[in-house]
């Protein structure tokens, strides 16, 4: 097994953990982290898998991942701003439907 493929499998694992955490957690920050894990897993699959198919470095998926990382950081920053504003207004870091009876 090439190391490219191994990392693709690693990406699969990250995605699984990410999805599990994303659905399970109600704390928004934890969800955000889960989303980032999911993203990293996807990037690993994208590069690892295509390079294992080609058997050599493939610059196209690498460039795509660069774009993807920037988009992900933009989304993360945006989510953080929203979360912080939400927390400042309501003193909660979870959405209303996840707060349980209070």
């Amino acid at each position: 097994m090439s190391s490219y493929l191994i990392f693709a499998y690693g990406g699969v694992g990250l995605c699984g953990i990410g999805v599990f955490g994303f659905i399970l957690h109600s704390h928004l920050l934890r969800r955000l982290i889960a989303f980032n894990l999911l993203g990293s897993g996807t990037f690993l699959i994208l590069v690892g898998l295509s390079q294992s198919g080609r058997g050599q470095p493939d610059y196209i998926p690498q460039a795509l991942v660069l774009t993807g990382i920037v988009v992900a950081v933009a989304a993360t920053a945006l989510a953080l701003v929203l979360i912080r504003r939400w927390a400042a207004l309501t003193k909660h870091a979870t959405l209303p439907e996840d707060q349980g009876p209070s």
Binding site: T42, G53, I60, V71, L82
Partner: protein, 482 residues
């Protein structure tokens, strides 16, 4: 100048975003409207270019696919581009009267980015480019939802953001698998080599789930009603009319380009079942809401269900029936965009008059604002799918297609959905007819607000008479592979 109209669809909105961020208050609005006019003209010239030369591709940066990104102008892309131009410009007009100065200042750049994202999605034929377009669209939409800045809309924006992010990642996972399998990102090239292997099936599964989540297809819909119902009125209109269409459009593209109806019949069936559930559930929930904008938001859920019925009706054997279903679905998408935007704007006016969100507060409004109620009613006609309207024609074609293939279940679902939608629309209508004691203390909205709402509603009705103009852009070759 052959490259101009197509590039204009991207350049003008981006310029709009730049201008609205860089200029001072007065020039911001003036320049925005100049650019809106330019975009409308641009769309028309693109239409004529299309009439002249038919479907054509444009290689960005002169790098043709698969190395570069190609834009494609075909009938479907044009219809959606024209649709967004119409709806967006009317909504902009509405917004610049409706919103406060601070809100408007922030509205413009979001609006322009949104439009740029929409156009990029309609035109793109590159899988990864579609992903970037989707992200741009989602973030602009989230920003617009957060524009009203109160806690409710923040919660809605967060919910929306997380759903959108998850959806995008699902899509990107699919793209990753497809690229690894076929080594290309260009959709036309992919369709040449495509065969439904295990990994492509997984890829398409992830892509569809992600995109359908962004479209708010049942059961992944719970983010939509608070986001669309809670946003500022022109924003609700833009979101319901245009934004959810984008991700659906990509599903439709993938499906027809890759001829998935041939690959797997059960996938289409599954989509149909989801759609049916959406139609019934959305309709039922709309019937039980007490807030006007939530009724309309749930109605969007139900309408999305109708679009989903295209997929089981695309048939590998009956080209004519497939064509009917495709045309009908697109017509419904278009009619829904016009009618739902008109309906949201009209509802916004009604809420402005009464100052409350509750349906009960509508009592007496049909006397006070007959024109506005008329606008609401006309949009309602199209949503219900009663003739003459674009919504009716779309439904008619879907029903015809289902009948020709003896798929009676979908006929029954469409009929039940129509009755449900009639029930919730007339329920709103009857509230406005109530007469209550104790005089009216209504505020009067500006005339522009009412006329913009009416213009969209009237368009959705006129679409019922001029459907051929749209359908002529969708020849049978657009849906059935040779």
């Amino acid at each position: 100048m052959a490259h101009f109209p197509i590039a204009g669809l991207i350049v003008f909105p981006l310029l709009g975003a730049l201008v609205s961020l860089a200029l001072s208050k007065r020039w911001r609005t003036v320049m925005s409207f100049i650019l809106i006019t330019a975009l409308l003209l641009n769309n028309v010239s693109l239409l004529f270019q299309f009439y002249g030369q038919g479907t054509f591709n444009e290689a960005m940066g002169n790098w043709s696919a698969p190395l570069g990104i190609e834009l494609r102008v075909d009938g479907l892309a044009l219809i959606f581009s024209l649709m967004s131009a119409l709806v967006a410009s009317v909504c902009a007009l509405y917004a610049c009267v409706y919103l406060s100065a601070t809100q408007l200042k922030l509205f413009w750049p979001f609006f322009w980015f949104l439009w740029a994202a929409l156009n990029s999605i309609w035109l793109s034929s590159d899988l990864f480019n579609l992903y970037v377009g989707l992200e741009l669209l989602s973030l602009a939409a989230v920003g617009l939802v957060a524009l009203s800045r109160d806690a409710t809309s923040l919660a809605a924006a967060l919910r929306y953001l997380f759903a959108a992010l998850l959806g995008s990642i699902g899509y990107l996972l699919g793209v990753a698998l497809l690229y690894a399998t076929y080594g290309t990102l260009s959709l036309p090239e992919l369709s040449q080599h495509f065969s439904l292997t295990l990994s492509s099936a997984v890829a398409l599964g992830f892509m569809c789930i992600g995109l359908l989540m962004k479209t708010a297809v049942f059961p992944m819909h719970s983010w939509l009603p608070p986001a669309h119902g809670g946003a500022l009125t022109p924003v609700s209109a833009l979101l319901s009319a245009l934004v959810i269409k984008a991700s659906f459009y990509i599903v439709l593209r993938l499906w027809t380009e890759l001829s998935l109806e041939i690959a797997s019949a059960s996938a289409g069936m599954l989509m149909g079942i989801l759609g049916s559930a959406a139609i019934l559930w959305g309709g039922w929930m709309a019937l039980n809401q007490t807030h006007l904008k939530l009724v309309i938001a749930y109605s969007t859920l139900a309408q999305v269900g109708y679009f989903m019925l295209i997929f089981p009706l695309l048939s590998p054997v009956d080209a004519h029936a497939s064509h009917l279903a495709f045309q009908g679905g697109v017509l419904m998408l278009l009619a829904h965009a016009l009618a739902k935007a008109g309906m949201f704007l009209a509802a916004g006016n009604l809420l402005f008059c009464s100052g409350q969100k509750d349906l009960k507060s509508l009592a007496g409004l049909s006397r006070y604002r007959p024109l506005n109620i008329f606008a609401f009613g006309l949009a309602g006609v199209s949503i219900m799918g009663l003739p003459p309207s674009g919504g009716f024609n779309g439904k008619w074609l879907l029903i015809q297609s289902a009948m020709l293939q003896s798929q009676w279940v979908w006929v029954a679902v469409i009929i039940m959905g129509s009755l449900l939608s009639a029930a919730y629309i007339f329920r709103v209508f009857s509230y406005t007819y109530r007469e209550v004691e104790g005089g009216d203390s209504f505020k009067q909205p500006a005339a522009v607000l009412e006329w913009t709402a009416l213009s969209l509603s009237v368009l959705s009705i006129l679409l019922g008479l001029a459907s051929m103009l749209v359908l002529d852009l969708l020849p049978i070759s657009a849906v059935v592979a040779q």
